[in-house]
Amino acid sequence: MMRFLLAGTRPPGSGEPGELALAAAAHRVVAATAWHSWLRRWGLLLSFGLPRDPAAELRACLIVAVNDEQAADRLAAGWGAVSGYRVVVLPLTGGSSGETGR
């Protein structure tokens, strides 16, 4: 298994909070919660990080363990779809437990 960091940011041009329909917000929370539960159930989510500043451009980071880069890209696409984030995939090349990265 290889480890990747998925970084979710606000898409370009959405710097302003804008208007979020309340029903849509609830739907997004539910969909994203289901997606993350799925990630956990399959043991793919190793850890996550959230910025202290809720208004930061970087919204969340996930550390995932998957077979290869294509699988990481698929996860990134799925996360982007449920969250609306622009997701960047970064291969992790080192690990605290001494596991081999890419």
Binding site: V29, P54, A55
Partner: protein
């Protein structure tokens, strides 16, 4: 999570939205900033809850994040300008823990009330009051409001911007004393009623109802009664809207056609809303018998009648007499004429309708012609009925009502002389 959980979360967001705006507004003193902070709070929930889990008390979580964000915003702004105190005179009062208004349940409720009063400020144009209330208090997006009113989103956005600008230009204070708020209660009730009417019987468009707007108005009325439970008029409005909304599902046939009271399937009436209407009416009866209470009493007569035939028209007529005595408008007179027709027959009501047909306030309305046409038809005056149906059809702009009138005209024409 399932759809019920999504619905529960939506309800929680809806309930929290005006509280968030109100608290952020108290801290920042600026409506636009308050809206941005409330939005950011929702975005924060969206970022965090899927990963950290939905908190046990979502409302408390949202409130904490919102308050912190608002305080940070004020702090950042004040640092940048190096004149913290002049930014918001009330800041000192806010930063004193435990004594700041808006930090406990009662304070937040007061802030919500002040927010509503601010959105319905008499300086604002009516369309601005409506748009601002729906955005700030009901939490509808500009798009949703625009859809509700069949308007371009840009028009609604313009109204909201104009209203905010007006509040800023005239330095309309969020903080005001209770007497001011109570004085503005009438305009708040007017705005909610206007939103309801627009949703319940839109003047234009294809469908008979814009249900979302009507139910938003019902929700706002409920909110108002929770904020000023000792005031009778909000209870009267809540009762009236609950009774009216209870029939929402029964007012249209599956093909979208209008169903009048006599044709509605009463088993489809929402008993929960009727019960809420009855309870609210009881609370409202503690106050003076004003127009809202009388209208609620009228709605109760219909909502609690087991069948159309069993409707207590004599009581309805007495209520209209009472209403007309304090609100002598052609619309009330028109409705009273219907009650006269139901108690004493169409011929007894036609003279009043003849008079109303010439009233300038009803000149552009199809209703007086539609009612007179119906009464002429029932009295056997086919030619007069057809002429009045034609006038009504010339004036009506709602398509569901047009179809109803056209069908009624056909039936009058085909009826044996």
């Amino acid at each position: 999570m399932s759809r019920p959980e999504e619905a529960a979360l939506t309800a929680a967001f809806r309930a929290e939205w005006p509280r968030l705006i109100a608290v952020a507004l108290r801290i920042t003193g600026d409506l636009q900033a308050a809206e941005d902070v409330a939005q950011e709070t929702l975005f924060a929930a969206f970022d965090r809850w899927p990963l950290q889990g939905i908190p046990d008390r979502p409302g408390a979580w949202l409130m904490t994040v919102c308050r912190n964000r608002a305080r940070n915003l004020v702090r950042d702004a004040s640092r940048a300008q190096e004149r913290l105190a002049s930014l918001r005179p009330l800041l000192d009062g806010q930063t004193s823990p435990g004594t700041a208004p808006g930090t406990n349940a009662a304070g937040i409720a007061d802030d919500q009330l002040r927010l509503i009063a601010m959105c319905c400020h008499p300086l604002l144009a009516t369309d601005g009051q409506v748009a601002l209330t729906l955005r700030m208090v009901a939490g509808l997006t500009t798009q949703e409001i625009a859809r509700g009113f069949n308007l371009p989103a840009a028009t609604v956005a313009q109204r909201i911007v104009r209203a905010k600008r007006m509040l800023t230009q005239h330095r309309i204070a969020f903080v005001t004393d209770d007497a001011d708020i109570r004085a503005r209660l009438a305009s708040v009730l007017d705005v909610i009623y206007l939103i309801f009417n627009e949703g319940y019987l839109p003047a234009e468009g294809e469908s008979l109802t814009r249900g979302d707007l009507a139910f938003e108005a019902g929700r706002l009325a409920c909110l108002l009664t929770s904020l000023v439970p000792a005031e009778p008029d909000p209870w009267a409005l809540r009762a009236l809207l609950s009774f009216q909304l209870s029939r929402q599902a029964a007012r249209t046939a599956p093909d979208g056609a209008l169903l009048t009271l006599d044709a509605q399937d009463r088993s489809q009436w929402n008993q929960e809303l009727i019960a809420d209407g009855i309870r609210s009416l009881e609370r409202a009866r503690g106050g003076p018998r004003g127009p809202l209470l009388l209208q609620a009493e009228l709605a109760a007569c219909h909502a609690t009648a087991p069948s159309f035939a069993a409707t207590d028209w004599a009581a309805i007529l007495a209520l209209y007499d009472e209403l007309l005595a304090i609100q002598d408008t052609p619309v009330v007179a028109l409705n009273r004429a219907v009650a006269v027709a139901m108690t004493a027959g169409p011929a007894a009501a036609l003279p009043a309708l003849d008079e109303l047909a010439g009233h300038p306030a009803l000149a552009s309305s199809h209703r007086v012609w539609a009612v007179r046409a119906e009464l002429h038809r029932r009295a056997g005056h086919t030619a007069a009925a057809l002429a009045d149906y034609d006038r009504a059809l010339d004036l009506v702009s709602n398509q569901a009502e047009r179809h109803y009138l056209a069908q009624a005209r056909r039936q009058a024409e085909e009826a044996p002389a």
